[in-house]
């Protein structure tokens, strides 16, 4: 047999073999149920069909983990992200990288739902998960209302609607109480929030962090910025002279750190009067239900008199807060 004849016969045979192997390797597509268990619109305005109640959920954003906790769905989580620093009770769960996304690790966990955040995760990952036939829901958390709606929706997905609704009602009530406390006249010092004492990254108009500051009875000086994350110039801060500086400064001495990186700020009222407060980054920098805790901590640090416990005058009266 000539070489060219052999080639003519071998090539089609090889093609058929490769095609057969490829078809064999491809996973059997999951058969969709007749009627979806639930159809929802997520934070990216995508319509998502869930065929069955989720049993194996992977969270790829710390904010999504917080919302799962608030909605009472923790028992269905099979993995969280390596950035979920404060979830000590979930220490037994595998941690996956969300930035960049460790897709192989997620697929290996065989999840029936992936929870993402519309503020953190890449929207294009939706196509990726669709192709893998793994439902992904982007939980909305651009505003407090969106966070509450996400808790309700997560409760509906996880079959914990009652617990989620109760949590939403409780959070809404606590927020209203906090705002009522700080609405007293004359309690609105000007303030700036700094993500770090090193570079002056802050938040601009429309940011949920400015809302939290307002709930805490503060007047954020950066509300004039249109950009969501301005890097403040030292002289601009000096000129606006905030009464209070808040940030996620960690355990270090915030005043020393600020003056080390911004020596000219020593004349700021906030520095001179030691009005510098640190809030845990996980509570304030991750949009979610824990933000209320951050606002409450801010308010208690800045306006302690509003939260003073009034000593009972008689033995029959119980302790009350103002």
């Amino acid at each position: 047999m000539s070489q060219s004849a052999m080639r003519r016969r071998t090539l089609p045979a090889l093609s058929i073999l490769v095609c057969s192997l490829l078809c064999g390797c491809a996973s059997e597509p999951r058969k969709p149920a007749e009627t979806p268990f639930m159809t929802l619109t997520d934070g990216l305005e995508r319509t998502v069909n869930l065929q069955n109640p989720p049993q194996r959920v992977v969270s790829i954003a710390p904010g999504a983990t917080h919302i799962m906790r608030a909605a009472g769905g923790l028992s269905s989580l099979v993995a969280i992200t390596s950035a979920d620093y404060r979830e000590q009770d979930l220490a037994g769960l595998p941690r996956i990288s969300a930035l960049p996304l460790d897709l192989e690790a997620i697929v290996a966990l065989d999840p029936d739902l992936v929870l993402a955040s519309d503020q953190v995760n890449d929207p294009s990952h939706a196509d990726l998960f669709d192709a893998l036939d793994i439902p992904i829901v982007y939980l909305g958390s651009a505003s407090w209302e969106a966070v509450l709606a996400s808790i309700r929706m997560t409760g509906d997905m996880m079959g914990t609607s009652e617990q989620a609704t109760s949590m939403v009602d409780s959070l809404a009530k606590k927020r209203d109480e906090l705002m009522a406390k700080t609405a007293a006249p004359g309690v609105r010092p000007t303030a700036v929030f700094l993500i770090s004492p090193i570079q002056s990254y802050s938040f601009g108009a429309g940011s949920y962090v400015l809302d939290l500051m307002r709930w805490a009875g503060l007047d954020p000086i950066t509300s004039s910025f249109d950009t969501p994350a301005p890097v403040l110039d030292d002289e601009w801060v000096l000129m606006h002279n905030p009464d209070v500086i808040i940030g996620s400064f960690g355990e270090d001495d915030a005043k020393d750190a600020l003056l080390n990186h911004h020596p000219t700020w020593q004349s700021l009222d906030a520095i001179r009067n030691d009005r510098i407060f640190s809030i845990p980054a996980a509570d304030i920098l991750t949009p979610g239900p824990r933000n209320l805790q951050a606002a409450s901590q801010m308010a208690r640090s800045i306006h302690p008199h509003l939260f003073e416990v009034v000593a009972p005058r008689t033995g029959n009266e119980s302790l009350t807060t103002k």
């Binding site: 950035a83 620093y85 993500i195 770090s196 004492p197 090193i198 570079q199 002056s200 990254y201 004039s224 910025f225 950009t227 301005p230 890097v231 403040l232 110039d233 030292d234 002289e235 601009w236 000096l238 000129m239 002279n241 996620s248 960690g250 990186h261 911004h262 020596p263 000219t264 004349s267 980054a281 920098l285």
Partner: protein
């Protein structure tokens, strides 16, 4: 060019993140120069004297120094693409700063360092390695210098990228990324003495070598035949450039393009004689950097825009136009 410096320094002082009356600004500076107490408010005087004045002067010094070392590097490797960072200095400084910020420098050393010193030591380490690799039989090979510089710069960039990526502290990651883009934010008076002394000394040495630099552009053999001590000059150029660049990068970060485009722009204006190119680069580089830094503060009012972005966005089109319009020559 010299005449243009004073008005440009005035522009640097007049514009910033907040709007201050020009008359008040100038009066405050004059009062400070004459030793009188500022007559304006403390806060506004602080802005002018403690933020804008050192910042403007630092921008001038850094622009001047980087431009002059750009001239030296282009002459040394006889390549118009060379800039102060061609020998890996910025890569070393960035790696030093990144390792320091991320807490990856051994404790006994970290306690004695700050970020600037860590960046300077990183630059020094890289240039020493490049020098050792390029040195053979008492001579420095320009090709080896270039290749070792490019390779070590890539290696150090990978080190910076890895420690930044692997860091769990987002604040420090942000700070490193901002620093890598270059900025005069946070400059204080204490940053100026060393930076300006090193830049002026480096400028003086380069000016003293101007005839030798002219000869070197023709080739090492030609320079030798004209009586230039080529090996000695190459070593001096490397030490001076490394020192100036290392110090400047340590206070302002790795600001790009200035050291590349200013020397070429000056050649386009005054010709190729280093007697003019060195001082021309000093003044034009400083002037350009002050204007770039002023723009970086005006473009996003109240915010810091890394000046490295402005030098590239504004400097490169200006340079290309100049390149097109003039009868440009490198050698």
């Amino acid at each position: 060019m010299i005449l243009g410096v004073v008005p440009v320094l005035g522009i640097g002082m007049a514009f910033g993140a907040v709007s201050l009356p020009l008359g008040f600004t100038m009066r405050t500076v004059l009062e400070a120069l004459t030793g009188a107490a500022p007559s304006g408010g403390d806060r506004m005087a602080d802005i002018i004297l403690q933020i804008r004045l050192p910042r403007t002067l630092a921008a001038f010094v850094v622009g001047s120094g980087l431009s002059m070392t750009g001239v030296a590097m282009q002459a040394l490797v006889r390549n118009p693409l060379a800039d102060p960072y061609v020998l890996g200095i910025s890569g070393g400084a960035s790696a030093g700063a990144s390792l320091f910020y991320m807490g990856l420098i051994p404790g006994f050393l970290a306690g004695r360092l700050d970020m600037s010193l860590a960046a300077f030591l990183g630059a020094l380490l890289v240039i020493s390695l490049v020098y050792m690799i390029a040195r053979s039989d008492g001579r420095l090979s320009v090709s080896r210098l270039l290749l070792a510089g490019v390779a070590l710069a890539a290696f150090m960039s990978a080190v910076s990228a890895f420690v930044t990526f692997a860091s769990e502290d987002a604040n420090k990651t942000r700070a490193v990324l901002f620093w890598l883009m270059g900025s005069f934010s946070g400059i204080t008076w204490s940053d100026l003495p060393v930076a300006s002394t090193v830049t002026l000394l480096g400028g003086g040495i380069l000016l003293g070598f101007s005839r030798s630099l002219d000869a070197l552009l023709s080739g090492e053999d030609q320079a030798r035949s004209l009586g230039v001590s080529v090996e000695q000059m190459k070593k001096t150029l490397i030490v001076v450039s490394a020192l100036v660049t290392g110090v400047l990068v340590s206070i302002a970060g790795a600001i790009g393009f200035v050291g590349l485009i200013i020397p070429h722009s000056v050649r386009g204006l005054v010709g190729i004689r280093h007697h003019w190119v060195v001082p021309g680069s000093f003044f034009l580089g400083g002037t350009f950097m002050v204007l770039a830094d002023t723009l970086s503060q005006i473009l996003l009012p109240g915010q810091q825009l890394p000046v490295g972005i402005v030098t590239a966005l504004c400097g490169v089109p200006f340079f290309l136009v100049l390149l097109r319009r003039t009868d440009y020559q490198f050698k």
